[in-house]
């Protein structure tokens, strides 16, 4: 059943491309800064945190690298996670005029809005490469882990996005629940602190959160030039894939009811 759905989705890959382009075009149309917003967001957040560092953080918390780049390295994947979920939430419910009039696989809505966020991720990454040069962080072969880590994150975001987008059609509460959950998850992920600060005994539980594994992996591969823990990364990938399959099955099951609701 899921296989048939995926095959049908394959026939609509041009639509996925167009919808992704639409989401990118629409996002920054009529904004003065345009795509610069993709940079402004993580940059602003990072600057706020960095300026607090003398008050709150100790140097030992940033794994021995400059605090600014320590934060930015986590902000880039985190911002993708946050914006991907935010845009996916209303991707179906905000397109009801289309849902009611024309049929195509509805997963295209959340998928396109998440893929559109990849562009922001890419722009933020380019800035990051500049920062790496500035702080004289060596470019090592471990950087090749970054695409793999990003893939794990993408699968996880797709899973959450599919589930949230479908639920929001039925219960608009979801729209309010998502930012709240994302904020809570920020504290359960090593964005403003290091994994090293998580007690050893809690570590296995902590690593159930794929975002924790992904962000830690980003720091290891980019800042420290080491490979991520393969066992943990593999487990995260498996968890993300499983969640994604479950979310997809759920999405396809409730999809037919979308058009009957207002």
């Amino acid at each position: 059943m899921m296989w048939d759905d995926l095959k049908r989705l394959g026939q609509f890959k041009d639509l996925l491309v167009t919808m992704t382009l639409r989401d990118i075009q629409v996002r920054y149309k009529q904004t003065f800064l345009g795509a610069a917003w993709a940079v402004a967001q993580p940059l602003a957040f990072m600057l706020i945190l960095a300026s607090l560092k003398s008050l709150v953080f100790r140097e030992s918390m940033s794994e021995g690298v400059p605090h600014t780049i320590f934060l930015y390295c986590a902000m880039v994947p985190w911002m993708f996670f946050q914006s991907g979920l935010t845009f996916a939430t209303t991707s179906v419910s905000g397109n009801m005029n289309l849902v009611k009039k024309i049929y195509f696989p509805r997963e295209i809505f959340p998928a396109a809005s998440i893929l559109a966020c990849v562009v922001d991720f890419a722009i933020a990454s380019v800035i990051f490469v500049g920062m790496m040069a500035w702080y004289r962080i060596p470019f090592t072969a471990s950087l090749l882990w970054v695409p793999v880590l990003f893939l794990v994150e993408l699968v996880f975001v797709l899973a959450a996005g599919l589930f949230i987008a479908a639920s929001n059609v039925f219960y608009r509460d979801v729209k309010y629940l998502v930012p709240l959950s994302v904020q809570l998850l920020l504290f359960a992920s090593p964005v403003i602190y290091s994994v090293a600060q998580v007690p050893e005994s809690l570590r296995p539980w902590y690593q159930l959160n794929p975002m924790a594994v992904v962000i830690d992996g980003f720091r290891k591969a980019i800042l420290h030039g080491t490979a991520p823990d393969l066992g943990v990364l593999g487990a995260s990938l498996a968890v993300a894939l499983l969640l994604c399959a479950a979310a997809y099955v759920y999405f396809k099951r409730v999809e037919a009811k979308f058009a009957d609701l207002i």
Partner: protein
């Protein structure tokens, strides 16, 4: 082979009760029911379609007609997989594209060009195909100058033109068309009809839903009449359309008799004369509702006066059901002096050959007095009749005509 097969399809909608917040839904879960089924549906459900079965052969054009709310759009939504039937099965072969509400997929902030790609892929075109068809689409829409303007600055006419232009270049096996002709000016409507005719000639299977009965008759091989979610009639276009018109007349008549009674009460004192009844009689003198083109027709107006009316005038109009006036006969314009009216009586107007072509009509009558502006009494929708005909000329009236050929004989030596 059938392109589309509907077997005992029913569709039920939930109306009234919907759970949009978890606050409503969570107690329902504890009550032991699934949220959408939690409350008993007797008054909360609505059957949009009940046990509908039909098939469409490949290359055939099927028309679906009926009142608003008869289930036409639901049928189309089911066909295009937008929604699923509550029971029954739907089978279709080949690719399918729906021309439902032109321009539904437009994004106001994007330019015409960007929207061509967006809407085109939504309708199932590949990006490469759109690139190939792009110039033709823009030319069809006549929007060359504005194609890089955001569509939110378009006039509604431009919007519709671009929407239809894209849709008209989609090339599916089965095309579903819903009321696209209700929009746009007449010239563009003609262009759309022409394009639909072209697609038909190419052997495309089509399902056409419209209130424009003339267009349905012109385009469709077979017509389905839906009434309250059930198939009320099915067959050749002319026959089913006539059936539909008869039903419309029956319900219209009922509606107007009711409103008439109310009007009567309101203007009772104004009436020096009252139009009591309007009826039409056929050649043999019987009161009739159906006439054939070319037959004689007599309209009778029965009146009752409360005072003597010295110089009465009478005006009788035949109007098509949509309000279009087909003919007006007026004693004043004909230069006739009607003798004074007193008491009760009957005025008649005879058409020796009534040349109207098949459609549904009603008769409006006005009795006035020379020198007064407001009529003494008037009756819109005084009576109703339909016209049928063996032959169908096309148009409003049959005009006597003859053809002549002058063959230039090329072999002549």
């Amino acid at each position: 082979m059938d392109a589309i097969l509907f077997e005992h399809v029913s569709k039920r909608y939930q109306i009234g009760i919907q759970h949009h917040s978890l606050r409503d839904a969570i107690p329902m879960l504890f009550a032991g029911g699934r949220p959408e089924l939690a409350k008993p549906g007797q008054d909360g459900t609505f059957w949009a379609l009940t046990d509908v079965s039909f098939r469409v052969a490949q290359g055939e054009t099927l028309g679906i007609i009926g009142h608003n709310g008869a289930g036409k759009s639901t049928t189309l939504k089911l066909l295009s997989h937008i929604t699923k039937p509550t029971s029954g099965t739907i089978r279709s072969h080949g690719t399918l594209a729906a021309l439902i509400e032109v321009g539904a997929g437009f994004h106001p902030d994007l330019t015409g060009r960007e929207n061509v790609f967006l809407n085109g892929t939504i309708l199932g075109l590949k990006r490469a195909e759109i690139r190939r068809l792009f110039d033709r689409i823009v030319a069809f829409a006549e929007l060359e100058r504005f194609i890089d303007t955001p569509v939110k600055r378009y006039s509604s006419g431009m919007y519709i033109r671009l929407g239809f232009a894209i849709a008209a270049h989609v090339d599916p096996d089965v095309l579903l068309i819903d009321e696209v002709l209700a929009v746009g000016d007449i010239a563009f409507q003609q262009k759309c009809l022409q394009r639909i005719q072209e697609l038909k000639q190419q052997g495309k299977t089509m399902i056409f839903i419209s209130h424009n009965l003339n267009a349905v008759q012109r385009l469709c091989d077979r017509v389905l009449l839906l009434v309250n979610g059930r198939i009320a009639a099915e067959g050749p276009a002319a026959q089913v359309i006539n059936d539909y018109r008869t039903r419309v007349i029956t319900s219209e008549r009922k509606r107007f008799t009711e409103t008439l009674a109310k009007q009567r009460l309101q203007q009772a004192d104004a009436g020096a004369v009252q139009i009591e009844e309007v009826r039409v009689r056929n050649a043999s003198g019987g009161v009739a509702e159906t006439f054939e083109t070319g037959e004689p027709m007599t309209i009778e107006v029965a009146y009752a006066c409360t005072r003597r009316i010295e110089r009465p005038t009478l005006r009788i109009a035949i109007e098509r059901l949509d309000g279009f006036t087909c003919h007006v006969a007026s004693t004043q314009r004909d230069g006739l002096a009607v003798p004074p009216l007193e008491g009760r009586g009957v005025l008649t107007l005879t058409y020796p050959t009534m040349t109207l072509l098949p459609n549904a009509f009603h008769v409006s009558v006005e009795i006035s007095e020379v020198g007064r502006i407001a009529p003494l009494d008037s009756r819109k929708h005084g009576c109703f009749f339909t016209v049928i005909s063996e032959r169908y000329d096309g148009g409003l009236v049959h005009l006597e005509h003859e053809w002549q050929w002058q063959v230039a004989n090329g072999n002549n030596t």
